[in-house]
Symmetry: C2
Subunit: 243 residues, 2 copies
């Protein structure tokens, strides 16, 4: 959370939050409430999506409202949709930006932001859609990196791990076993873990608790290769064919 | 700045900063020093790049050091290079992520993150490199959005504005005049300004002080089109051919 975000939450008459569009390991709502000095009303997916944010909307019509979301706001369509509804009702809103996996993935891996192509998400329940393999392949053919998000669910079922994601991908495209990939676990947490290597090797690594995510690098710049070796345990054989 | 960043800066024995890899409008170093409770040593580009971060390095060998940078750290190669130098000398380092244009551009425009292709930078002094036009065109052919950063310089010359960038782009590819674009000025500031419309119309708009940036949207989802109308003043004729 940024200082500006905290200030705005303190200034608000009422504070809502949702924590289902992303995972916040180590989140403590009571600690957050202490800092803000107010009770936080945590909304479920149903309250936000099925009821179209009715609670926030009706409150925002008569008082100053803050809505806390995990990561950088508006990455989720739900947030954009809520903001559009507010605009239609003539209620002004303003975004306070924060850290997001879409930029933090660069710092955590050492891969350069302008070399990322389109990103995509691996769904948890279905088999791998051909579009996911296509995105990785197309980016690769343009020498670009692919950020592959692993779908989150809030229904209590196990989340996708790097290992289970790799199994799904290899089933759809066995050639992927020989590719270089970077696994990132708990990005931004004190116990963040980053590991780069051949997919077949990553599948054997233990990345610990979720959330996990994967990057399939395109062609590596010298400094990107150095970073993967220094901070992600990649070896020269791992990087062969990618530099 | 995040709460975690502030905490870490307070804990450090010595605090360095650089403010040249991005522009921070309204930045007040004295206010930052008050919050942190320490003097901040602001490094120039020369001190960081030509001297390879020698000051930070020698300090980090014997005490706890915080290094403040504008935006999300490690987006600039300078930061990655410094971190690699630290690693080579056996000095541990850790990144505290924050807001970045690479994700905040989604919130400010309502354009979806997974629909952005490769991003690129328009250089200030040269004429438009063909690669810049190619990136926009290639992304567009895959229905993807392009984030076009406008190069920053610290030598006191005027910065690239949305208007001057458009003039450069149209010289290289006159067809671009009829394209839809989104101009974003002072992203994240209280006086942030966002305007969407045909390039020929944006060239006439006044976006105020820099920093400015541009987005060339690919194919728009219904909700993206709605957002550009609600928050960026786009009209239906502007969006024709993009939805």
């Amino acid at each position: 959370m940024t200082l500006e975000g905290l200030e705005e939450a303190r200034r608000a008459d009422r504070v809502f939050a949702e924590f289902y569009t992303s995972m916040m390991p180590n989140l403590r709502v009571d600690k957050l409430e202490d800092m803000i000095g107010k009770k936080i009303e945590v909304l479920t997916r149903a309250q936000l999506e099925d009821e179209n944010g009715e609670r926030i909307l009706s409150s925002a019509k008569r008082e100053r409202v803050a809505f806390l979301v995990p990561g950088d706001p508006m990455i989720a369509t739900t947030h954009v949709s809520l903001r559009l509804t507010l605009a239609k009702e003539g209620v002004g809103s303003r975004i306070i930006y924060s850290a997001s996996i879409f930029s933090a993935i660069c710092g955590s891996t050492g891969l350069q932001s302008y070399k990322f192509g389109k990103s995509t998400t691996l769904p948890r329940d279905e088999s791998t859609p051909p579009s996911v393999i296509d995105v990785i392949r197309e980016n690769r053919s343009r020498n670009l990196h692919t950020l592959l998000l692993l779908e989150l669910k809030t229904d209590g079922k196990p989340q996708l791990t790097i290992r289970s994601a790799i199994n799904k991908l290899v089933q759809a495209d066995p050639g992927i076993r020989e590719r270089l990939a970077v696994g990132v676990a708990r990005l931004g947490s004190p116990d963040q873990q980053v590991g780069a290597g051949r997919v077949s090797r990553l599948a054997e690594s233990d990345f610990g608790p979720v959330p996990h995510t994967l990057v399939f690098p395109g062609k590596l710049h010298f400094m990107e290769a150095e970073a993967l070796k220094a901070f992600a345990g990649a070896t020269d054989p791992d990087l062969e064919g990618s530099t």
